[in-house]
Symmetry: C2
Subunit: 213 residues, 2 copies
DNA sequence: TTCGAAAAACTAACCGTTAGTGCTACGGTC
DNA sequence: GACCGTAGCACTAACGGTTAGTTTTTCGAA
């Protein structure tokens, strides 16, 4: 029950890191499909079962770093400046994420992902989880008691923006264009939210002002 | 090179159907994960390799019927009445598809899909393909020489509508709401398309009028 | 030092999927 | 009607990701 301070945690983290590094190196070297789990485990000098105790699947080895994606998006919603409208705040965060992916240092990894169907599929599945989480964050921010259709929808659109911009020839321009569309969609639904009177039943102060676009 | 008319084709189709039926029955009976490929093959009285010569994967057994999804969407775009605006036409088609899924007869299958992560993942991947195809159809309909970002974006949004509406408590209402948002997004991008002058370089007559919303 | 527990190892399998090979029945051709 | 090419299918055997079960090692705390 005590807090395991020290060596054990460090060793565990080191093992995890060694596995991830080895895997990425081999994947970039020989290609994702050409490298087996048993290869990675042998090269990292661990047992196969150990590898799977650190990573849920072979694909997860590649996306090791991007575990904070969800948190960053939620943070962009809940941690934005007071009275700052929602969509621009999300746009800024998405832009940063896209830039991070298209940066030269990360380029080989994303090329690997794009070339490998299994990895693409895995990432799509991740995106859906992210969209769901973002939808919840937006709903909470608006003070809604549950995730409504419009929150879920906008969340999907925002995640779509990330995905589409990454694949576009000019990511910045694509983001411009897509977020103009999202902005329009958001205005429609947020104005009708007022007339619908979807303010939570317990009254006034919960969440951010609904009128803040 | 002749058209193989007759028994051979019928036998092949019968084998395929028998496999699909058997698979669906077993899956609904015992659950997707509890039934192995070898079980399905044995019950359908075919070899495992035969099964895989008819279906690309275990998941494909479940989505056997919905192979015309892409075609239906493309048809909704290219085959709509002259001067009928794009988005409402798509809305009608999506509505029909959603109704088809939520109908009582298909309900057990979709419950199975929703309960099984592997099937959800597979369907997501299918949706992305559908979105890409729809984007191409839209671009072609507008007379654009290639699939632009806004076409791709609207296509994604439309597919999102399908996915979100199916999961919503009240699919009709959800479609209302989401398509209002899509309509707004489409107006923004289609009006700026005129000012951008994205008419194909070879001049006038290709495709439908850009001004038709 | 000793003990409990977490981490890692090892074995042995399960399951989806594929390659390789050969047989059989069907369809077109002479 | 006999012949031949081939499509459909069966069979074996394996590959690669993943997991269960069990045992050994390693660390932290008493």
């Amino acid at each position: 029950m005590t807090v395991p301070s020290g060596r054990r945690e460090r060793k565990k983290a080191a093992t995890r890191q060694k596995i991830a590094d080895t895997a990425l190196r081999l994947f970039l070297d020989r290609g994702y499909d050409a490298v087996g789990i048993r290869d990675v485990a042998a090269e990292a000098d661990v047992a196969v079962t150990t590898l799977f105790s650190h990573f849920a699947s072979k694909e997860a080895l590649v996306f090791e770093q991007d575990e904070d994606f969800e948190q960053r998006l939620a943070q962009a919603v809940t941690g934005r400046a007071p009275h700052e409208p929602l969509i621009p705040a999300l746009r800024r965060e998405i832009e940063a994420l896209v830039r991070h992916c298209t940066a030269d240092s990360a380029a080989p990894i994303w090329r690997l992902v794009e070339e490998t169907p299994a990895l693409r599929e895995y990432e799509e599945s991740m995106r859906l989880r992210h969209a769901e989480a973002l939808g919840m964050a937006i709903a909470a921010d608006l003070g809604l008691p549950r995730t409504t259709t419009d929150c879920r929808t906008i969340a999907r659109f925002v995640i779509d923006a990330y995905s589409l911009a990454r694949e576009a020839a000019d990511p910045e321009a694509a983001l411009d264009e897509i977020f103009r569309m999202i902005e329009a969609a958001w205005e429609v639904t947020s104005s009708s939210r007022c007339t619908r009177g979807a303010v939570p039943p317990d009254g006034a102060e919960a969440g951010r002002a609904v009128t803040a676009r």
